[in-house]
């Protein structure tokens, strides 16, 4: 585990929706969701970034390889693209995306290119 | 009569050359207005010839025959006009021709042709009242629909018909497919309906449509000239000057305006028609008692 930056908070899955709702109600804007799979750690890291004016906050979820994450697309519509991307490129299962494109966002030929086969 | 036949034949033979050349100058002048050098003035002819040399692809074979019919009808209308016949019938016959163009375009089931077609229809609807009113204006001013008799008048019709003239020049912008009204098939490719009605027309089909447009523009410019003609031969010079001025004005408008939406076009075209031509009409009626 690497050091965590000052505006980065680790949360677990149970807290996620609560955090999201708080942010939504306080009119924070969803900046991005970033999925990564550091080989050394051998798990997914999903980072949700929010901003409100010049305030900035990141929430990180650690997800094991075969775990699912809940979708936030019903709270933040723009999450649809990020979540579909996570599934298409990383093979991370997101439950119940508002518009599930079933790996047809980019329509690539290779399967989950960011994860090597043996990692899966 | 022979005179009229000769003029009609000259129209059929020369109109493409004259309008093609005007078009060439149009492109040159437009380019210069945009700070560019632009193509050769003969470019429209190169383009046309090329279109007829291209391989013929089609999505629907019915299209070609409709386009041919369109061309023939336009030429027929031109012959009627330059042959000095009834101007109202010329307008009617032009709209029949337009119908063939529309049918040609929709025969292909293409989204862009379809959108273009509907806009073309709106354009026709925007212009047609004014075209009919021009015929009415001539009748009121001179007492006949007959082109051959209109040119024999002693005073140029423009003296009675300034409002009609303004209205007509306004819709010419639509007819010439110039900005701000190049809504259905502009000569600029970069628009939401691509090339609209002509999107699906390949090679010679597109060539024929271009040719037909030239023939049609000749008629329209002819009508502009008709406003200035009278029994005095000097008026021919006035008519030619008027045509050139109107033509330059259209280029200028083309280069200084954005493409508006069809709703605004319809509103403006009908508004101008009612105000300019309607007032003129009312005045003429009052004078006639």
């Amino acid at each position: 585990m690497q050091e965590i930056k000052k505006d980065m908070y680790l949360i677990d899955k149970a807290e996620l929706l609560q955090v999201i709702m708080e942010k939504k109600n306080a009119l924070w804007r969803l900046c991005q969701i970033c999925c990564s799979f550091p080989k050394a750690e051998n798990h997914y890291e999903v980072t949700y970034s929010f901003a409100n004016g010049y305030d900035f906050a990141n929430y990180r979820l650690i997800v094991e390889k075969d775990e699912d994450v809940p979708s936030i697309s019903r709270v933040y519509k723009s999450a649809i693209y990020y979540e579909n991307e996570m599934h298409e490129l990383w093979g991370l299962n997101v439950e119940n995306i508002k518009v599930d494109l079933h790996d047809k966002l980019y329509r690539i030929d290779v399967e989950t290119p960011f994860i090597e086969k043996e990692d899966k | 009569m022979t005179e009229r036949i000769i003029i009609a034949v000259l129209y059929v033979l020369l109109a493409p050359f004259v309008i093609g050349l005007l078009d060439g100058f149009d492109r040159k002048i437009s380019a210069r207005m945009q700070g560019r050098r632009g193509p050769s003035v003969l470019q429209p002819f190169f383009d046309l010839k090329k279109l007829f040399e291209k391989e013929f692809l089609t999505a629907n074979k019915a299209q070609l025959f409709m386009i041919r019919s369109y061309l023939v009808f336009i030429v027929l209308s031109g012959v009627l006009f330059f042959g000095g016949f009834d101007i109202l019938l010329v307008v009617f016959s032009l709209s029949t021709a337009a119908m063939f163009l529309i049918l040609a375009s929709t025969s292909t089931h293409s989204p862009y042709s379809a959108q273009g077609t509907h806009r073309e229809l709106v354009q026709i609807m925007s212009c047609e009242p004014m075209e009919l009113l021009v015929a009415v204006g001539f009748y009121l001013a001179i007492g006949t629909f007959n082109v051959n008799e209109i040119i024999k008048t002693s005073i140029s019709p423009i003296a009675y018909l300034p409002g009609f003239f303004v209205g007509f020049v306004f819709i010419l912008t639509i007819k010439f497919r110039k900005s701000p009204f190049d809504i259905a098939t502009s000569h600029h490719a970069h628009q939401e309906v691509i090339k609209g009605v002509t999107s699906e027309m390949v090679g010679k089909e597109y060539g024929m449509v271009t040719l037909a447009e030239w023939y049609e523009n000749a008629i329209l410019l002819g009508i502009v000239g008709l406003f200035f003609l009278n029994s005095n031969p000097v008026s021919i010079v006035a008519a030619i000057i008027a045509i050139l001025v109107v033509w330059f004005l259209e280029i200028l408008i083309d280069n200084t305006s954005a493409r508006v939406k069809w709703q605004l076009m319809l509103k403006l075209a009908w508004g101008v028609t009612i105000v300019a031509a309607g007032m003129n009409l009312l005045l003429l009626e009052i004078i006639r008692g």
Binding site: - | I29, A31, R32, M33, Q34, G35, R36, R37, G38, L252, I253, N255, T256, S257
Partner: protein, 125 residues
């Protein structure tokens, strides 16, 4: 003119003044000195170390130590100049003049006169 056709002035000014268009290709273009056109090699200084080959992002350079050639595929080069940065002998340069378009993608190869150091040095490495 106000709201209606305010662009007229500009347009008419353009119409009656010289267009901005260059005369290229009839008159050749003059490039500023920093222009990154194509990569050139001063073959006499090259030591065939292969640094440029390894650093080139698209892999446009091939250095053949045995055949003593330095080859570049200019249809593959992205003119980034990283090879120039990296070359230990500073024998590469990026200069004006671009690769002419053509119907084939060909490579450009130079024979490098470099003689590798005597094998005596080898045991050390």
């Amino acid at each position: 003119m106000g709201q209606f056709l305010p662009f007229t002035k500009q347009v008419l000014k353009n119409l009656f003044s010289e267009p901005a268009t260059t005369q290229y290709p009839f008159v050749p273009k003059e490039y500023p000195e920093r222009t990154r056109g194509h990569v050139d090699i001063n073959k006499d200084q090259c030591i065939l170390c292969g640094m440029c080959m390894r650093s080139c992002p698209p892999g446009a350079i091939k250095v053949d130590r045995a055949g003593k050639t330095w080859t570049i595929n200019r249809f593959d080069c992205i003119q980034c100049g990283y090879c120039v940065e990296k070359c230990p002998k500073k024998c590469l340069s990026i200069t004006a003049g671009y690769q002419e378009p053509g119907p084939e993608k060909f490579t450009y190869s130079v024979e490098v006169p470099y003689e590798p150091p005597k094998p005596a040095a080898k045991p050390q490495a």
